[in-house]
Every structure is written in C-alpha cells, then in structure tokens.
C-alpha cells in the first residue's frame, strides 16, 4: 500500500518537475496578489501590519485554488484517471498520493515563501513564526478539500469558476483560524488554540475528504 | 391590541421602513418564486405539450 502511495507521489512530482512553469506560476501569483494590496490601501506600516495576516492568507488560499485543476484535469483528459480507477490499490491511495503531491508542489512552497511576504507587511518575528506554522497546518487542508471540488467539477462547463464557488466557502474555517493565529501572535496573545484547531481541521479533512473525492471521481468517470 | 390606529400600525413606532421593508421583500421573494414556477410550467407545456 505504501509503495503504491509513493509511486503515485513520485509520478505526480515527476510530472510537476517536467512542467516547472506551472508550479512557478502559482508562486508568482501568490507574491503578486499579496503585493497588490499595499498599492490599493497605502503603505502605512501600522495599517499594513494589521492587514498582513489576512492578506497573506487569502493570497495563499487563492494560489492553492488556482492550482487545483492540475490535480485531475490532465489525467482525466488523457485517460490516465480511468486507469487509476482500475488499479491494484484502493482509489483512496491514489487520491491521497495526488493530494500529497499537490501539497508538495503548492502548499509547501507557499508556506516557505510566506515569511518573505510577511516582511513586506512589516510583521514581527513572532507573527512570522505563527504565519509559517498556520500555513503548514492549513495548506494541506486546502489541498484535501480542494481535491473534492476538483473531482466534482471534472469535465463540467466553466469548471474553473465553479471550482472556486464550490471550494472557497469550505475554506472559510481554515482562513479564520489561519489568519487568526497570525493576528493573535501579532497582538502578543497566545495562538496555540488556533493552531490546534487547524490541526483538528487537518485530521478531520484527512479522514473525510478522500472519501468524497473518490466518490466524485467515480461519478465523473461513470 | 398594540396599535391605536391604522397609521400607527404602518408607522410601527418609527421603524416602519425597516419592518415593512423586511416583510415587503419577503413577500416579494415568495411571489417571485411562485411566478417563476408558473412561467417554467408554461414554457414546459408550450414545448412538450405535457400538462404542468
């Protein structure tokens, strides 16, 4: 089982590295979106610091959303997804592998890049630490829930916008506690509660999301 | 009976705009939904000859 999981991850990572442009695009989008806000709201440090957590988190959320179609769309189009439904291992293993690969190519880089943007928003050290911690726990949830949306919108008309419409409301709890953790750290308050709740969301979605994604994939390929 | 007169009722203790604004839109929504169903039925009947 573990070997199959590793096999799926290795394949998707190999495909991602063959198309480095796609991975880079998502990161560039993240930086651009986060850098636009000061142009709109003015660069007054106190104001920037106050909105920093929210802006960086929303930018990360949108970047993750942008890359979700990479999960299944290409495989659906060329028939690879069909083959994965007839594999020697449960479909959930394939979904888990692809979700992990998706996180490794989007969530993880976003988390590592976020402190740079945090500095742009004049966030102090403690807040930067909370930012990385909250993104590290939150971005996997974005991939897990996003996978459900990506599978549901396979082969539908206007899939990109529809995917955003389906998935963004489900991202609200992660955004609330993700940005909340950084905000609390900014105010010098303890943010352990936020991170533990993010951890709870991670466990919760790890258990439920793959089931929904598998069901959605079977429906899409029926 | 809370209201001295019909005017008092509509005045609603100064909050007439808000109260009747709420109930008015509520009623409007319901009316629109029923009308939408009617139109959908008529469009169905016209194209398929099926009874609504």
């Amino acid at each position: 089982m573990l070997a199959s999981l590793a096999g799926i991850i290795e394949r998707d990572l190999r495909l991602a590295f063959r198309r480095k442009g796609d991975v880079a695009q998502v990161l560039v989008f993240f930086v651009i979106v986060a850098s636009l806000f000061p142009l709109g709201t003015g660069a007054e440090p106190n104001q920037l610091r106050a909105m920093g957590p929210g802006v960086v988190w929303v930018a990360a959320l949108l970047a993750a959303l942008l890359s979700l179609n990479r999960l299944f769309a290409a495989d659906y189009a060329d028939g690879s997804l069909e083959q994965m439904l007839i594999a020697a291992h449960p479909l959930a293993v394939t979904v888990a592998g692809k979700t992990i690969a998706h996180w490794l190519t989007t969530g993880l880089p976003l988390t590592l890049l976020a402190p740079l943007l945090g500095v742009q928003y004049d966030l102090p050290g403690a807040a930067l630490g909370a930012l990385v911690a909250s993104l590290a726990l939150g971005t996997p949830v974005l991939s897990l829930i996003g996978a459900v949306g990506a599978a549901l919108t396979l082969g539908t008309r206007g899939a990109a916008v529809l995917l955003a419409l389906l998935v963004l409301p489900l991202y609200v709890p992660v955004l609330v506690f993700g940005a909340g953790a950084v905000g609390a750290a900014l105010a010098g308050l303890p943010h352990g509660a936020h991170l533990s709740l993010l951890g709870a969301f991670l466990v919760f979605s790890t258990v439920f999301a793959p089931w929904a994604t598998c069901a959605a994939l079977r429906i899409a390929l029926d | 009976m809370n209201w001295g007169s019909v005017d008092g009722f509509f005045h609603m203790g100064g909050y007439g705009l808000f109260v009747w604004g709420s109930y008015g839109v509520g009623l409007l929504c319901i009316a629109l939904e029923v009308i939408a169903l009617r139109m959908r039925a008529r469009r169905l009947a016209r194209t398929a000859g099926g009874e609504a």
Binding site: S4, G7, R11, R14, L15, R18, R19, A74, D78, G79, S80, E82, Q83, M84, L85, I86, A87, A88, H89, P90, L221, D222 | -
Partner: protein
C-alpha cells in the same frame, strides 16, 4: 472466469441494452460487435467496473466484481479509446507507471523489451509528446507484452490506428495470452483471425 448477469445499460436517456448475459471461460475471446452508438464502449466500461449498469451484475469467478474492488482491478488490463499516455513522460516512464498501477513492477530491461516488441526501439527516452498518434497507441499497447499475470484483458479498439506489422504483433500477443488460459473482451472493426483461440461474438443491436 467472467460472467455478465442480465446487464442493462442506459446512456443519455436511451436503454442501450438489457438482460445481457454471457460467460467467458478461460482461453476464449469475446468480440463485441455493433454499429456506432450501440453501447460497445459502455459495455466494456461496465465490465471493468468504471461504469455502473442500470441493472444486472458482473461476476468474476462467481463474485460480484464491483464488491471485489481492487481485487478485481489487480486481475484486469483495460485499454480504452484514450491511450493514457502522459505527453511529458517518456514511453518507458509511462509503461513503468502503468505496470506499477496494477502491481506488476517491471525492471527497465523488460520495459524496453516490451517497447521494442511494439516497434518503439530507440524511442524509449523520447518524451511522448514527440511521438505520432500511432506510436503513442503502440506505447500504450506495450503493456500487453508485460501483462501475462493479468488473466482478463478488456481492449477497446486495440487495432485502431495501427499499421499492419503492429496489428500482427498485437494479435500474436492476444493469441499467447489466450493460449495461456487468459480471457479477453475486445471491440474491433477489423476481422480478428486467431488460429487456435475460440472466439465468441456478441452483437449489440443498438
């Protein structure tokens, strides 16, 4: 042993077929015939568990294939209209992953030998994007040379877009598979001449 038990399929509001029955014993080939839109592909997709029949069941040695899940998947080779070839990967990588998916990890030499058998010698490391449509199809068909361990082959138009030489190779592979006691279900517009094997024909009226 594959059995279809009163299968019915509905596609786009139309009942393509109903109460369809057949039993496929080891060593036999079932050729599904019928005009376009008769439900040939739908039947094949139902047999390999991709699509759900409106009624009836697919049985694999007596057990419901749907319930078997990956147990059934481990015994099945399915080739659809789409070749499932990733353009960014090389034929060898594509083949390695396809084999790994059904639990048959093949060493590099075996992969290259299978590709060579389908006329792709020297092109193992070329990204599939640069191959022609026929070559991509052959890259997908290379799996036939490595799937002796899979008792059931379900092939949708395996001979389409192939040159004469490749057709002979594929037929030879199917022949040896049947001779080894394997089973195959396939659709094909060309006539299938397989000397030794017993061929069942199933015509879908459509």
């Amino acid at each position: 042993m594959l059995q279809a038990e009163s299968l019915a399929c509905e596609r786009g509001g139309r009942l393509l077929f109903k109460s369809l029955e057949f039993t496929l014993a080891p060593g036999t080939l079932l050729r599904v015939l019928g005009p376009n839109g008769a439900g040939k592909t739908s039947l094949l997709r139902i047999l390999c568990g991709l699509a759900r029949p409106v009624a009836g069941r697919v049985l694999w040695s007596g057990e419901d294939a749907h319930a078997l899940g990956e147990e059934y998947g481990r015994r099945l080779l399915y080739l659809g209209h789409l070749s499932a070839i990733k353009e960014d990967l090389t034929p060898r990588e594509n083949l390695r992953f396809a084999q790994r998916l059904v639990g048959l990890e093949a060493p590099r030499a075996a992969l290259d030998e299978a590709l060579a058998r389908l006329g792709l010698a020297g092109r193992e490391d070329v990204p599939a994007r640069y191959l022609s449509q026929g070559q991509k199809r052959r890259a997908a068909l290379a799996r036939l040379a490595l799937s002796r361990a899979l008792p059931l082959w379900i092939l949708d138009e395996p001979l389409a877009a192939l040159d004469v030489h490749a057709i002979d190779t594929v037929l030879a592979l199917i022949g040896t598979h049947l001779a080894d006691g394997g089973m195959a279900v396939l659709t094909s517009h060309q006539e299938i001449e397989l000397a030794s094997a017993s061929i069942l024909r199933l015509v879908l009226a459509g």
